[in-house]
């Protein structure tokens, strides 16, 4: 039964009832509800237990500021730690409270309340020091934390990333953002407007205001309709701008219902200019037991009664230090809530504000010192702010307003500076750091008229269109006298409700020497919850300011960091999950390898290569031994295609290779190749490989598989930055050539059986030479190199011929007992011959001498990369390790 639902009004669709469960109990709400509003409409007040002390908690906010009502969604769209105020209700939704077991009503963890004085600020850190963290760790880990992360990925749907580009990005579609969008869009700018709400309108959805003498909702609808007709406008709803990075690069996560298979889309937007129209967030007030279910932000109560058409209480007390709560009192009264009293900490209430609510008791110069009740609010204790006799007022709703904080999060992330505004008692944007501006409530323009004007003006000045017409609107003025905490508070007075941080905790942190505001934050964890202290942070600053007797300007708020609201990992990853994160690279032989039963390895740089080809009944060692014997005694073949291959062309290639290799390459004749080492200039081995000279100006450089990209970068950097006048051009041809390497004493027989026009005799084609010709009817380059130490012919062909070549090799080699060999056997074979492998013997700390390869270090060349450093290092007496055997 939606016992607290109003009969009419609100922005909900009573024709579309939705069923959901909360902590296993079935309820009903309407389309347009959030989980929070649906729970309140059903009379549910106790929704959660607190993080540390397991105190009973209810719903405090109505949007992203919610510090208290966290839920875990179960079922298909399982998700942990969602504020109930941002979960849109849908049919079949299953939610449960976090932080309590078995339920928020009967919660065994609530014994923590009794030992709360042993859990002060920093207790967690103190356990590190004494007597032994490991003593506490298991129980603390279990008790702390919130809901568990879902076990499985979402059952259906996917995430995606998308790039966006615009002249002007507007964050927030409230009155200021919409005005800015309208002016900029009419001027023809490419406008992107992103708003985190289900529908546009911002604060206008929650309040009862008029624009052009009609309900403000009409103006919102008209404006959106106009924007949607313009091709230069991208309008995103349900889209949170959560990060403002350097060079006007912003992250926007959109949850769209247009495409049911799309869970979330993360936009990466590069904007010419950013207009922060992010609105303002109401502060809580800090008094005793200010966390009891039934205590709510005044703006939230207003939102529930106006937007969601429900009664958050039957009898309300309003506690405020500013004018905005008077409109809330009016709206609640209109909906039939009995307003017991308005408690205003200011001694003087502006007359025109007082006049808006005639028949209600206003306790000026009074504060709420504590609340009464258990799991539900039953009343409040009210006393004069100067001290004196208190009286009790019974109520089941306390709507509190500590004033308004401009939502400067994005502005601040962009490194825009803030200043403390004494008049408004809050931090407001000061100097921009990037191409950005702040408008509306986000800029401290807290009345509707000012907000709309600031939005229009900002856009007009960007578009140079001259002042825009501002619609007429009504709103009362705003004034405030800050109240950072109630001094006579009785009972714990929470500053950060999510992390259970009280005034006493902050005072303790100050006493223990943590008096920098950033230290207070870390030590108390105030502002470090999922809500990032949206309602409480400035009260912490104010509390510190009072205690230290310094102005708030000198303390500054703590640093605002992204994300503004929690973001799912899926949205950031987009489609990059599983095999698409870093796809494997395959050669044309992969399928053949798999058919042959190869056990595949990653062979560096994401290449998939066969590790070994096991046969039935063979152990791993049997397989490797068999493959090795095949090569030593008969003939084997492997696919060497993943080796990095670069073609270098130009007059200065020889000179360049002499610089990057430790030995001399320039003396090679066309048709010859040479093994060499590349060193970095600090004398360590970068890579090894073979260089071939094709003709006077063309060379092939081959590198190890894993270092191919690094060597490409190395060569390009040297050529472009050190030797820009050298005539060398590099082309990556790794994937333009594939090769099958036939190795073993009978390799030449196999090549002969394949039929080739190349003379493969050791006189005509000695070691470290190559020849171009036909092999098995295919154009090929045959290279005499060896990785295994046996007679080897590397047959290079175009990739389109590789499978044909491979099949013919297997066929021609069959009478000779040819077998494919994997990288395991390859490694055994090369180790037996004492050949190097990058990443094994060469680990980034050894030089050529350590490896017994001093011969590769040219003594003739006066300079090459690494020479000076190797010599320098060996001048000293230091003992170096040496590879032996």
């Amino acid at each position: 039964m939606q016992v607290d639902r109003l009969a009419a009004g609100g922005r909900i669709d009573r024709g579309r009832p939705l069923s959901f469960t909360f902590n296993g109990k079935a309820y009903q709400g309407f389309a347009g509800d959030t989980l929070a509003s649906a729970l309140l409409a059903n009379g549910v007040r106790l929704t959660a237990r607190s993080f540390k002390y397991h105190r009973p908690r209810g719903i405090i906010g109505s949007g992203v500021e919610e510090p208290s009502a966290l839920v875990e969604l179960t079922g298909d769209d399982a998700s942990a730690n969602q504020p109930a105020t941002t979960v849109q209700l849908r049919d079949g939704l299953q939610a449960k409270s976090v932080n309590c077991w078995p339920s928020p009503v009967v919660d065994f963890g609530s014994v923590n309340q009794m030992i709360s004085r042993f859990l002060p600020a920093g207790f967690y850190y103190k356990t590190f020091k004494w007597p032994n963290w490991h003593l506490y760790e298991p129980s603390i880990r279990k008790a702390a934390g919130l809901a568990a992360a879902p076990q499985n990925p979402p059952a259906g749907g996917h995430f995606e990333n998308r790039f966006g580009h615009c002249d002007i990005l507007i964050a927030g579609a409230g009155p200021a953002g919409l005005m800015a969008a309208l002016v900029a869009a009419r001027a023809g700018k490419r406008v992107m407007i992103a708003d985190e709400g289900r529908e546009a309108g911002g604060s206008l959805l929650n309040r009862r205001l008029t624009i052009n003498c009609r309900d403000a909702a009409h103006w919102v609808a008209e404006t959106i309709a106009e924007l949607n007709t313009l091709a230069n406008v991208t309008h995103l709803q349900n889209a949170s701008v959560w990060a403002y990075r350097e060079h006007n690069y912003l992250m926007v996560t959109e949850r769209t219902s247009d495409n049911p298979s799309l869970i979330e889309r993360n936009w990466r937007v590069r904007a010419g200019h950013v207009i922060c129209a992010t609105g303002a967030i109401e502060r809580s007030l800090v008094f005793g037991n200010n966390d009891r279910p039934g205590v709510m932000l005044a703006s939230a109560a207003q939102s529930y009664v106006n937007r969601y058409a429900l009664r958050p209480g039957k009898r309300a007390v309003i506690f405020t230090n500013n004018d905005s709560a008077y409109a809330v009192a009016n709206d609640l009264a209109t909906a039939g809530v009995d307003i017991a009293a308005i408690v205003d900490s200011r001694n003087e209430v502006p007359r025109e504000v007082r006049a808006t609510i005639q028949e209600t008791d206003v306790f000026a110069g009074h504060v709420v010192t504590t609340t009464k009740g258990g799991r539900k609010l039953r009343g409040v204790e009210v006393a004069p702010v100067e001290g004196g006799k208190s009286q009790q007022i019974s109520c089941d709703l306390l709507a509190m307003s500590g004033g308004w904080n401009p939502a400067v999060h994005l502005w601040s992330q962009s490194r825009g500076t803030l200043r403390y505004d004494d008049q408004l008692a809050c931090y407001v944007p000061d100097q921009p750091a990037q191409a950005s501006s702040s408008v509306g409530a986000a800029d401290g323009k807290l009345t509707l008229k000012e907000a709309m004007k600031s939005g229009a003006d900002a856009a007009a000045s960007l578009c140079a269109t001259g002042p825009a017409a501002i619609p007429q609107s009504d709103d009362i003025d705003y004034s405030i006298s800050p109240l950072w905490r109630v001094e006579q508070a009785q009972g714990p007075a929470f500053l950060d409700i999510q992390n259970d941080v009280t005034v006493d905790d902050v005072h303790l942190a100050l006493r223990e020497g943590y008096d920098n505001i950033e230290h207070v934050k870390r030590y108390t964890t105030g502002g470090m919850g999922l809500d990032q202290g949206k309602t409480g942070n400035i009260n912490i600053v104010g509390t510190v300011a009072l205690q230290k007797d310094v102005p708030l300007q000198d303390l500054g708020p703590t640093t605002f960091r992204s994300p503004y609201t929690p973001v799912s990992f899926g949205a950031i990853a987009g489609i990059r999950e599983g095999s698409v994160v870093q796809p494997y690279r395959h050669t044309p032989i992969t399928e053949w390898n798999l058919d042959r039963g190869a056990f595949m390895y990653e062979a560096g740089a994401r290449w998939r290569r066969p590790g070994y080809f096991p046969r039935d009944g063979e152990s791993f060692q049997d397989t490797v031994n068999r493959e090795c014997r095949t090569v030593r005694n008969g003939v084997g073949v492997y696919d060497g295609s993943p080796l990095g291959t670069y073609e270098l062309k130009g007059r200065d290639v020889g000179r360049f290779l002499d610089h990057i290799y430790s030995n001399i390459m320039s003396t090679l004749k066309p048709g010859q190749g040479r093994y060499g080492l590349m060193l970095s200039d600090d004398g360590l081995i970068l890579d090894d490989g073979v260089a071939l000279r094709l003709d006077e100006y063309r060379w092939i450089v081959s590198t190890s598989t894993g270092h191919a990209d690094a060597i490409n970068s190395h060569m390009e950097e040297l050529l472009q930055t050190q030797f820009p006048d050298w005539n060398v051009f590099i082309t990556t041809v790794t994937s333009q050539w594939n090769n099958a390497t036939i190795c073993g004493p009978r390799a030449r027989d196999v090549l002969a059986a394949l039929s080739t026009d190349i003379d493969t005799s050791s006189q005509a084609l000695p070691f470290m030479t190559f020849a171009d010709g036909q092999v098995a009817g295919l154009p090929a380059r045959v290279v005499r190199v060896s990785f295994t130490g046996e007679l080897s012919f590397e047959i290079n062909v175009a990739p389109r011929h590789m499978r044909e070549l491979w099949a013919k090799i297997m066929e021609a080699g069959a009478p000779h007992g040819i077998e494919p060999i994997g990288s395991e056997a390859n490694h055994v074979l090369r180790v037996e011959k004492g050949f190097l492998s990058l990443g094994h013997e060469v680990d980034g700390t050894v030089d050529a001498h350590d490896l017994g390869m001093g011969w590769v270090m040219s003594k003739k060349k006066s300079d090459y990369l690494g020479k000076r450093s190797v010599n320098l290092r060996r001048e000293g007496e230091a003992v170096r390790r040496e590879l032996v055997g």
Partner: protein, 85 residues
């Protein structure tokens, strides 16, 4: 994400580039410098608070190694070191 001006491709996302590090002084002639000078050349990398000249490789674009001045405090890319704020 930086917006890096490539002399051939214009403004491009940082994700198209590989970082090449701060520009070091020109490589000295190895046989013309003392051991200490050589070691300094190898190990001393500019790391200023403020504008730094650095290299980026447009590896997922045109392949150019380019040089920019970037203010390490703000990420602003400036024409000359003197232009930084």
């Amino acid at each position: 994400m930086l917006n890096i001006p490539c002399p051939f491709c214009g403004q491009r996302n940082e994700s198209e580039f590989a970082y090449g590090g701060p520009v070091k002084p020109d490589r000295p002639q190895p046989d013309k410098v003392s051991n200490d000078q050589w070691v300094d050349y190898l190990t001393q990398v500019p790391n200023p608070l403020g504008p730094v000249e650095e290299r980026w490789w447009h590896v997922k674009g045109c392949g150019t190694w380019l040089t920019i001045w970037r203010d390490t405090r703000t990420h602003d890319i400036v024409e000359e070191p003197g232009d930084a704020g």
